[in-house]
């Protein structure tokens, strides 16, 4: 297999960074709880793209094994997130996070 050049590596890194920043913007701008959670998932995917690209660049398995663990944890967080969203939806009948701001100061 040909070794990945730095120019190609930077294309992948740019993709990872774009996904990460899009997720960050989504996290700040969205008000729907499910969409906020999906924004963090997009950030995780940006990390995964980075890791795989680096793994290919250095020709070792560290990056790919990292991604497998990353996906597992992301799945655990997703199940927790859905459980929480259902818990909150039952109480207020809405997915908007703005109704959940009683505590101030």
């Amino acid at each position: 297999m040909p070794v990945m050049s730095q120019a190609v590596l930077f294309e992948y890194l740019s993709l990872g960074a774009v996904l990460f920043v899009l997720g960050l913007i989504g996290f700040v701008a969205r008000r729907n709880m499910i969409l906020i959670f999906l924004s963090t998932e997009i950030m995780f995917q940006g990390v995964a793209v980075n890791l795989i690209a680096f793994g290919r660049y250095w020709m070792n398995m560290d990056g790919q094994s990292f991604v497998i663990f990353l996906l597992t944890i992301a799945a655990a967080e997703a199940s927790l997130a859905l459980g929480l969203v259902i818990l909150l939806f039952r109480r207020r009948e809405t997915l908007n996070v703005d109704v959940w701001s009683e505590m101030q100061g």
């Binding site: 890194l13 990872g16 990460f20 997720g23 960050l24 996290f27 709880m33 906020i36 959670f37 963090t40 950030m43 995780f44 940006g46 990390v47 980075n50 890791l51 690209a53 680096f54 660049y57 250095w58 070792n60 560290d62 990056g63 094994s65 990292f66 663990f69 990353l70 944890i73 655990a76 967080e77 927790l80 997130a81 929480l84 818990l87 909150l88 109480r91 996070v97 959940w100 701001s101 009683e102 505590m103 100061g105």
Partner: protein, 598 residues
């Protein structure tokens, strides 16, 4: 090979015990028979005690580092106190139906999280570090959201969870750049790359950006600026035993993660060429302690006040970390920022858990007292508990004779001896500001008239935890030698580099070979060539390693044949990292180089 895996797993025995107990407790908590469900607390306590004893045994200690053993013992000890504080959580979740809604599985989450904290210092790989951090965090999201029925708890849960996921994404992005910079997730290999690169004037942008993002992400776990703002809402919303847990578990895990990650970079403070990371840590420390203390002054709600005080204490520990590790392993306390940080972490855990345990007892089953007026004049009704709380609060202020005083003393000493006097001044001024709001609680308990006369009596467990904490706060404050020697030992692990360095000089070439026996580098080699025409030499660096060791070779090729004084300058070409600086071999080498010149 199988035997090898068995012996290396032995170092993880305490964590394995904690996780197995968590599984048993989870099943028992769902049992049909009420008797069995009520045994969950005792099972959890026995599990933590067994893990504590296991961490003490020589067999386990020989397979882990001193830092790992220290953190495991600290986690099990504080974990036991936290279990006692949370003793009645399963009833308190729904006071109306204590029997039908008795939820024993609450303790399983605490045990999982404790196992994660205990594992933190034993990791040697970025992947492991990530898994340990998430093992600490994910159970805490659950106990915050389901800890009590009020809608505040759910609001706190959703805020804590979303920001937690965001911070995880941020530090993971940093991890990916650290991996991209070094080509490995193994700590030993990353350290070797940082050391071979450190003689450049500036670290590559990828390493700097990676470290910045990692620090930013982990500042969430320790509730430091810039990701500190969630703390007040989450501490207020969660049930009080959960709040006590939050002030220990994520914080301990986050600080150990920061210590490990800064250890990777060789802590290039003071002699390091790049000042970005130390400058960032300094700014974070100053802002964290000042913002925490000023906002704590404005609070009427005790839990919110503790949240801001927890932020402030994170600032103190960051101030200790800026001082960096000791220059010589086994040296005095004065220069050792890591030992000061570990000591303060242990001290803060004891003081804050004691204060929360007393608060839990005063609140009673109904989880009522939140405002400072609710505990006014409580000393006449519960003199013992009020005294325990007062001792813990005085220790948080830093009164002489308590463990909190020693903690602040070591931090100030470490900062002054390494030339960070601005930080030392900030720590002292902030300690004075903090006294105001802690004394307000003490004054309310002792001086004011009772506001609400009757308080519900509860089980004795939280009171027992509070008394134990107060006794240890005083005991370790007056006779700290045992704790100090353990921490000394743990911090030396960070200070001492166990590698060897050899310098050979022959005509126009000088070779420096450093050898790191710990950890695994993975297979393969890497080489780089750096030419520096001004200094008149080219540097060829090679990194090579196998499963058990890692070798870094720098070969300097000089334009002119080496003379006596060049031998000296070659010795100075060694990467100026404090880790190497502290190595006895390097010190001997520099001495001999100096002798050649003479």
């Amino acid at each position: 090979m199988a035997e090898d895996v068995n012996t290396s797993l032995l170092g993880l025995l305490p964590e394995i015990i904690l996780l197995c107990t968590a599984a048993v407790v989870l099943l028992m908590g769902l049992a049909r028979r009420d008797v069995l469900r009520r045994l969950t607390q005792w099972t959890a306590v026995i599990g933590v005690i067994v893990a504590f004893v296991a961490a003490y045994s020589n067999d386990v200690q020989s397979h882990t580092t001193a830092l790992g053993t220290f953190l495991t013992l600290l986690t099990c000890g504080i974990g036991l106190l936290l279990l006692f504080s949370a003793w009645e959580m399963p009833f308190a979740m729904d006071p109306a139906h204590t029997d039908r809604h008795y939820r024993g599985e609450f303790f399983a989450m605490l045990l999982c999280s404790l196992a994660g904290v205990s594992m933190m210092a034993k990791v040697n790989n970025l992947i492991w570090l990530f898994l340990a951090l998430e093992l600490v965090s994910i159970p805490t999201y659950i106990v915050v959201a389901t800890g009590r029925g009020q809608s505040e708890a759910q609001e706190a849960g959703i805020k804590y969870f979303f920001l937690g996921a965001l911070s995880a994404a941020i530090y993971l992005f940093g991890f990916s750049y650290l991996y991209g910079f070094s080509g490995s997730t193994q700590f030993s290999a990353i350290t070797a790359v940082f050391q071979s690169d450190i003689s450049r004037h500036q670290l590559p942008w990828m390493a700097i950006l990676g470290l910045l993002l990692v620090l930013l992400g982990i500042s969430y776990k320790i509730a430091a600026v810039p990701l500190h703002f969630y703390a007040a809402d989450v501490y207020q919303g969660a049930a009080t035993p959960v709040t006590a847990f939050l002030s220990f578990a994520p914080k301990a895990a986050g600080f150990v993660a920061i210590i490990l990650l800064l250890g990777l970079t060789g802590w290039h403070f003071s002699s390091g060429p790049d000042v970005t990371i130390p400058a960032l840590l300094t700014v974070m420390a100053v802002l964290t302690m000042t913002i925490g203390n000023v906002l704590a002054l404005l609070q009427r709600n005790i839990k919110r006040m503790f949240a801001y005080s927890s932020i402030a204490h994170s600032g103190y520990i960051l101030a200790a970390l800026v001082a960096g590790p000791a220059l010589v392993a086994g040296g005095g306390w004065a220069h050792d920022g890591v030992a000061a940080a570990l000591f303060y972490l242990a001290a803060y855990s004891l003081m804050t858990v004691g204060a929360f345990a007393a608060l839990i007892y005063m609140q009673g089953k109904a989880d009522g007292a939140e405002d400072i007026d609710d505990i006014a004049g409580i000393s006449s009704e519960h003199p013992m508990t009020a005294a325990c709380m007062a001792i813990c609060l005085l220790s948080l202020i830093g009164m002489p004779g308590t463990i909190g005083f020693l903690g602040k003393l070591f931090i100030v000493q470490a900062d002054l001896s390494t030339g960070h006097w601005i930080l030392a001044v900030f720590v002292v001024v902030n300690a004075a500001i903090a006294a105001a709001y802690y004394l307000r609680i003490i004054a309310a308990m002792y001086v004011r008239e009772p506001w609400t006369p009757s308080h519900v009596r509860t089980t004795l467990a939280p009171r027992f935890a509070a008394a134990l904490c107060a006794a240890m706060v005083i005991g370790f404050g007056l006779a700290p030698s045992r704790l100090l020697s353990d921490i000394r030992h743990a911090a030396d692990y960070m200070a001492g580099s166990s590698g060897t360095v050899r310098l050979t000089v022959f005509k126009g070439r000088a070779k420096i070979t450093s050898h790191f026996p710990t950890g695994s580098f993975g297979r393969g080699r890497r080489s780089s060539l750096l030419t520096d025409p001004l200094a008149g030499y080219a540097r060829r660096s090679r990194l090579a390693g196998d499963q058990n060791s890692c070798v870094v070779k720098h070969e300097f090729i000089f334009a002119r044949p080496l003379k006596k004084d060049t031998a000296w300058s070659t010795a100075r070409l060694l990467p100026p990292s404090p880790v190497l600086e502290r190595n006895p071999a390097v010190v001997a080498l520099r001495m001999s180089a100096r002798l050649i010149v003479r």
